[in-house]
Structures are given as structure tokens and as C-alpha cells.
Symmetry: C2
Subunit: 201 residues, 2 copies
């Protein structure tokens, strides 16, 4: 049923179908036929719009990382020059945003993470995202502590966030976003408390 302007629609459908297929049977068994079936189209269309299966997988990972970045940015934009705690809290909340922690997204994210160890194209995306999270955390921690402790705090908090995702992806019931957020915030409070020069309460 050829109607003009299908490209953006099909691209989005196929990216969603990719996540659905990976959620269903894993990356290894997410064949082009299965993905196309989820989108209600034929297999050939994937090569037409993405140049091949690899192009579709890369586009899917890029979408996940873009959504993640947007979720963080949206929460930080309204903060202005608020406290480091507020900014880092927003980063945490953005990382556990609803749209990011659904079963399909979490499983796809983990599958890509593992796959990126040996696919340069995916590894590049992964590292860009990683460094953005780390440097955002670091520059906020730097406002209340010296460089070396700030680096350690950033590394620890980033690891905790990723670890909670990792465990959430494997849990049958999916990630408990509220519980994870609370845990990360508690950790953040403790990291900050260690470097407070003027204890308030």
C-alpha cells in the first residue's frame, strides 16, 4: 500500500519491532524475518530503509541512547544552577525514566552492551554515551569536592546505576524503577555527606 512519506513511519516501526523481537527471543534469534513480522512488513524492507540488518541494529541502539540522553536533559534543563545534589539527582531520575526501564528497552540495552564489545560501530556509540554520563556526574561533584574524590564518586555512582539496570534487565518482573532510584539517591547522599564542610542538619 504505497503512500508517500512512509520512510519515517517505517523506520520507527522497524526500530520498535527490533526491540520487541530482542525482548522476545534475544539478539541472537532476532532474525530479519521475525523483526519484519513484528512490524507487519516483509523482510526485504529492512535492507531498503537501513541498508541491511546491521544498519537497523545501529539505529535501534542510537535511539535508545538518544532517548536516555533526552530524559536526562529534560529533567536538568529546568534546574538552572541549582545544587549539585539536584543536578545529580536529575541525572539519576533520568536514567530510571519510565520510558527507559520497560522490559524491551532494558533487555535490548543489555544485549547491545554485550554486543558492543566486539562491534566497533556499537562500541563507539556506547563510549560516547558513557563519557557523557561520567563527565556530567564529574562536573557536578567537582563543585563540592576535589578532583580525585569527584572522579571516584562519579565512577562509583555510574557503576551503581549500570548495575541496577543490569540486574533489572534480568529480573523476570523487570526493573523496580522506584526502588532503584531510591537506592541510587541514598548512595548519592552518602557520597555528598562525606565531603560536606557545613553540615546543615
Amino acid at each position: 500500500m504505497p503512500k508517500v512519506g512512509m520512510e519515517p513511519i517505517r523506520r520507527q516501526q522497524l526500530i520498535q519491532a527490533t526491540m520487541a523481537a530482542i525482548d522476545e527471543v534475544g539478539l541472537a534469534d532476532a532474525t530479519v524475518i521475525r523483526i519484519a513480522g513484528h512490524a507487519g512488513v516483509s523482510a526485504g524492507i529492512i535492507s531498503h530503509y537501513f541498508g541491511g540488518k546491521d544498519g537497523l541494529l545501529e539505529a535501534t541502539m542510537r535511539q535508545i541512547l538518544t532517548d536516555l540522553g533526552d530524559a536526562v536533559s529534560a529533567r536538568r534543563r529546568s534546574l538552572g544552577d541549582a545544587s549539585p545534589r539536584a543536578h545529580i539527582g536529575a541525572i539519576i531520575d533520568g536514567n530510571f525514566d519510565r520510558s527507559q526501564v520497560s522490559g524491551p528497552v532494558a533487555k535490548t540495552w543489555l544485549a547491545f552492551w554485550a554486543s558492543s564489545m566486539h562491534k566497533p560501530q556499537l562500541q563507539r556509540l556506547q563510549q560516547v554515551n558513557d563519557r557523557r554520563l561520567y563527565s556530567n556526574l564529574c562536573s557536578q561533584f567537582r563543585r563540592v569536592m576535589p578532583q580525585e574524590p569527584a572522579r571516584r564518586a562519579s565512577h562509583g555512582l555510574a557503576a551503581t546505576i549500570d548495575g541496577l539496570w543490569l540486574r533489572g534487565a534480568l529480573t523476570p518482573d523487570g526493573l523496580d524503577a522506584d526502588g532503584a532510584r531510591r537506592l541510587a539517591h541514598d548512595y548519592l547522599d552518602q557520597l555528598l555527606a562525606n565531603h560536606e564542610s557545613t553540615p546543615v542538619s
Copy 2:
């Protein structure tokens, strides 16, 4: 060159070769021919000793988890009824044991983790290991805090350990075991400090 009693030797060789192959090209491209090549044998031998490729992969994951459990047990055995901090510290150290954090092992571990989302056999192994870590942590935290905080502390510390592994597997230079251990110990100290009824220093 048929000599009697080759079975345990070949099994070990093939398990090591599996990790080497996954480290080299990833789980998706770790074919039986490549694995057999790493062990210096022919592909057919894999089906002979492990019943098929799946059997070899399961044996490899089982070995990684067994080694991990042994590394933890060995450090705790000499502790007797020492402090919770000492026991949990030993669990942390065991998880960042030298034999566990080498590039091949870390990458294989992550590959299996992702794969276990959709392979019941691997998922079972994964969950047994997971619950062991969690309940070990929990029973130690319980000695110094109520049940609910102990659960939260265990979940948080387990997530941090896994997160450090995850990031270590992806880092080009491999996991910085000492740095990771220090971070996990700092987190542990903070978790315990929040529930100390008799502040000593």
C-alpha cells in the same frame, strides 16, 4: 594421538578455548571450528565430550561461576565468626579476585549474562549464583541492622559489584581490580556507618 584418560584434559582445554574465542570475537562469532582451533583439536570433538555446542557453553558458564564461588569461599573460610564488615569485605574481594577479572573471563561472563535472558539453562545457573551472593550479603548485614535496610544494602552493594564488572568488561584496558575493590569497600563502609549504634572513632 589417542592416549587414555584424555577426557578431563580435553574438557578443560575446550572450556578455556571457549573463553579465549569469546574474548577474541564475541559469543555470536565463537563457532565450534574457532573454539576447537584455539584448543588445537578438530570441531567434532566438542560434540563428543559435551554433546554439542550448547553443552560446552553451559559447562563454561558453570566453571566461571564455580571459580567465583570458590574465590569467595576461600577468603571467608578463615574468618570464622569475624565481623560482618570482614565477611562482606571478603565477599567483595572474592568477586574481584585476579582469576575472575581477566579480560577473557570478564567478557565471557558478560556475554553469558546477556545470553541467559533467553536461555533457560543459563538463566538457572545465573539465578543460583545471584541468590547466593544476595543471601550471603543479606545474612551478614542482618547482624548489624534490621531486615529491610539489610535487604536494601545487599541489593545496592550487589548492583555496585555487578556494575563495576560490567564497566570493567567494556573498558579497553580491562577492569581495574584494585580501584573497583576500593570503591566497593568505601560503599560498604558507608552502608555500615548508617547503622552503627556505637560510633567508635
